[in-house]
């Protein structure tokens, strides 16, 4: 003889399953509706904005690279100072709020260059300082840049390792 509680559960079960299915169905209908109503992003406009902005940032970078090469560095050695200058530029523009507006206009055109990478660090540092200097600013500075470094090192070291042992 099942206890009353168990009996309740048994009689209740079909109901909850049905309710769950109903909810799932509604969710699906809702998602379809959202997909239909959501305006398609203006692909061409976005692509062009990203292209021109990203291209211009790389053009600036070329100026920096050429400057260090003219100063007598070879192309490989000039890599580090060029990245550094661009990162610094990204931080300064972020601090004065310029980069946010640029990102609004250009999307990936602002996000993909290394200046955008620097922007994620500086913006996170500024945004999270209200959570404290140690656990806010200190911990969350790399909230977006962290994964980039993690997977960059993981894949970079892996690829270098494979290249090394296949060459030996």
């Amino acid at each position: 003889m099942p206890s009353q509680k168990a009996r309740q559960q048994i009689t209740k079960m079909p109901e909850t399953i049905q309710a769950a299915q109903e909810q799932k169905r509604r969710q699906k209908v809702y998602e379809q509706l959202v997909a239909e109503k959501k305006p398609k992003p203006p692909y061409v406009r976005n692509f062009l904005a990203a292209f021109v902005t990203g291209g211009t940032i790389c053009l600036l970078g070329q100026g920096v690279l050429s400057f260090f090469v003219r100063r007598g560095m070879d192309n490989v050695a000039a890599t580090a100072p060029t990245l550094t200058v661009m990162i610094l530029l990204g931080i300064v523009l972020t601090a004065f709020g310029v980069y946010d507006e640029l990102a609004e206009f250009a999307g990936a055109g602002a996000a993909v260059p290394i200046t955008g990478f620097a922007n994620t660090i500086a913006a996170s540092a500024i945004d999270f300082k209200h959570e404290g200097w140690v656990l806010g600013m200190g911990a969350k500075m790399f909230i977006i840049a962290g994964p980039v470094i993690v997977y960059g090192v993981l894949s970079g070291v892996f690829a270098a390792f494979v290249k090394l042992i296949t060459k030996l």
Binding site: F51, I114, V153, S155
Partner: protein
């Protein structure tokens, strides 16, 4: 000429990133990781170097170049001093930028407030 190529190649990489953002549900963070990994793999296997030579900052400044720089540092040091170089070299070209990013972002956080 180098400037034009840097503009065109760098712009194309960023435009591709934008297309990925618009056509998928990936966040900019995902795209950054994806591009860095692609660059790092290409850099480690030696595919990125000819591209860098051709496109200059157009290949270096997008995060693909950041990834490639990690791999290149790793590989060059490993070829010079052996396996430990894989790790000592990882930040050879990027460490300077990272230190600058940490230092000046912290300074920026002291003096600037978020815009609402």
């Amino acid at each position: 000429m180098a400037y034009l190529i840097a503009f065109l190649i760098g712009g194309t990489i960023c435009g591709l990133g934008q297309l990925i953002l618009d056509l998928t549900t990936l966040s900019p963070g995902h795209v950054l990781v994806m591009f860095t990994v692609l660059g790092a793999l290409a850099g480690g296997f030696g595919i990125y170097q000819p591209f860098l030579k051709f496109a200059g900052a157009g290949a270096l400044v997008p995060v693909t170049g950041f990834g490639a720089s990690i791999a290149k540092g790793s590989l060059l040091e490993a070829q010079r001093i052996g396996f430990i170089g894989l790790f000592t070299g990882a930040f050879e070209f990027t460490g300077q930028g990272l230190a600058v990013a940490v230092f000046f972002s912290a300074i920026a956080a002291i003096f600037f407030n978020p815009r609402s």
